[in-house]
Amino acid sequence: MAGIRFESVGKKYSNGFHAVKDLNLDIRDKEFLVLLGPSGCGKSTTLNMIAGLEEVSDGRLLFDDQMVNYMPPHRRDVAMVFQSYALYPHKTVFDNIAFGLQMRKVPREETARRVQDAADKLEISHLLDRRPSQLSGGQRQRVALGRAMVRNPAVFLMDEPLSNLDAALRISMRAEIKDLHHAMQTTFVYVTHDQAEALTLADRIVVMKDGVVQQIGTPDDIYERPQNTFVASFLGNPPINYIDGAVEVSDGETVSFVRGDLKLKFAGETARKLASSNGREIRLGIRAEDVDETRSSGEDSLIRGKVNSVLPVGSDQFLGFDFCGEELFFRVGKDLDHALGENVALSVDLSRLHVFDKASGASLIW
């Protein structure tokens, strides 16, 4: 255990709301899978179906080829960390962590040993006599992790476990959760709407929107090769820039993007895929970091505009850039000095352009 398979799974709530639609997903044994998407897209619903807290309405859910649609949570060998932590308020930290073992009739000495073990690992042994109300947010979070860990489950489910922590703690806990996954050697399914969390933690990411899977892939796939504009926009900070325009093929081999005065020459694979699309209306995507000022490569890679705003963000700065009345955001080195209203030309990394169909938003190159 345990690989988890969704076969055309759908979830309809009793009020008729279709929260998850036709989900097909293979979660591999020992994988760290992240469900990523905006609020209300059905991430928690999907997780709750794995836990057995929500019934599957359509399709089949399998744990290692065994159908578990109707299996109650306590027989599934899953443990879960809730966004609110859901600690039992009247129980001590020890009893909170021990509860799952007590319910499973694990002998008293073994329970004590395992709770102590987990507490040691999470560095909360000195808190075992306290009540949840006497803990800080970060400590509660550890108790919630301990409660799941101690069970040694086949599947570890986490629903936005870090969203209630402050920024610094969130980043250090990310590393701990990654270590935990290494140490426990079990399947992790992790829900978040934070792209940075997803990119750092995941072996694979599932991006969802309105109950529909948009893309499944490694963090690299998702970031570098987004299959549609939704995925492309959801990841990246500042978000990816879009410019609508058309494909122009000249001399039968030079493939470019044209929009007014702007002309960008496609490179390599992209050029080949678009070679027969002369005149096609497309939406060009340029990631904020894929521009450069210092390197001046030929005229066919320059985008010109007026500086609208300059936002220093420590290591870099965000440049708000007015291009034909559209506001684009780029991330450039902080040593570059720009006055507001100044006209600049930025050189675009032509090998990293994204091309989407203008109407459907689907990628034309990946």
Binding site: N48, A51, G52, L53, P72, P73, H74, V78, A79, M80, F82, Q83, S84, A86, L87, Y88, P89, H90, K91, F99, G100, M103, R104, R147, R151
Partner: protein, 293 residues
């Protein structure tokens, strides 16, 4: 430091003054005055001789047999009533916390007894228990449980329980609401966590529901105990302490002493004893239960 009270304090004082004056007149003054009276032997049948007797009114109480009878009756009435109120309101609140068709209608109907004034409630039950045309007799007779009409309130062994029944009927709605509030406040993910942890229905009730209801339980316990110990209306309207002294509770004892025997001094002393006992009980409940919540 020159002005102790600023503008805000002074305007607050002006706005509060009328209310405070009224409170002084109708609450604080009578309380203090009756405390003062409890040190005198005052009988309206002998209006001109009201000697100061110190603690005699209090000491005399404890040698009075009827006083101890009334204490026993009050204890019986309160324990039975409060236990029944707790049990019934627990069940009803658990029921109303479930989602089912008609829950709203049921909740509304359930509130009716709460809306009825105590005296009206007492008169209603007087009619229900009536030996000649009462509804209880009517129903039991038609269902063949009894073969002749009974004088329900005339039965020494049953009276106090029948009165308790009327009291419980009136009090359950409020108790239910208080418990329902603590039930509604339980986050649903606690139940989800317990399910994942392997707890069954009963274990979830024991480990999640009951502990969360403790504050509500405590509130009901304290409030209803105070109401039951001091309750008067039902005894006044249904039985006047009878038959014999079967429903001669403390509040009735005080009433008889004060307004029938016109012995204001000892009546005031008893009132103070009752108030002290009520206070002491509440204090103990809060201390002992409060620590475990």
């Amino acid at each position: 430091m020159r002005r102790l009270f600023g503008y805000e304090e002074r305007s607050a004082a002006i706005f509060l003054a009328p209310v405070l004056a009224v409170l002084m007149g109708v609450a604080v003054f009578p309380i203090l005055y009756s405390f003062y009276l409890s040190f005198f032997r005052i009988k309206l049948t002998r209006p001109n001789r009201t000697p100061f007797v110190g603690l005699d009114n209090y000491l005399d109480l404890f040698t009075n047999d009827l006083f101890w009878v009334s204490v026993a009756r009050t204890v019986t009435f309160s324990v039975v009533s409060v236990a029944a109120i707790l049990a019934i309101s627990l069940l009803v609140s658990l029921l109303l916390n479930q989602n089912f068709r008609g829950r709203r209608v049921l909740s509304t109907i359930l509130l009716v007894p709460w809306a009825i004034p105590y005296v009206a409630n007492a008169l209603m039950w007087k009619w229900i228990y009536d030996s000649g045309y009462g509804a209880l007799n009517g129903i039991l007779y038609q269902l063949d449980f009894i073969d002749k009409y009974m004088v329900w309130l005339g039965d020494q062994d049953k009276t106090i329980f029948l009165i308790a029944n009327a009291f419980v009927w009136k009090e359950v709605p409020l108790a239910t609401i208080l418990l329902l509030v603590s039930l509604k406040a339980i986050p649903s993910d606690l139940y989800q966590a317990a399910r994942v942890d392997g707890a069954g229905v009963w274990q979830r009730f024991i480990h999640v529901t009951l502990p969360a209801m403790k504050p509500g339980f405590m509130l009901v316990l304290i409030y209803e105990t105070m109401m039951a110990i001091r309750h008067f209306d039902l005894f006044f309207i249904l039985t006047e302490g009878g038959p014999g002294n079967a429903s001669h509770v403390l509040s009735w004892h005080i009433y008889v002493e004060t307004f029938r025997n016109l012995s204001f001094g000892s009546g005031a002393a008893m009132s103070y004893v009752l108030a002290l006992v009520t206070f002491a009980l509440s204090y103990t409940f809060i201390r002992s239960l409060g620590r475990k919540v």
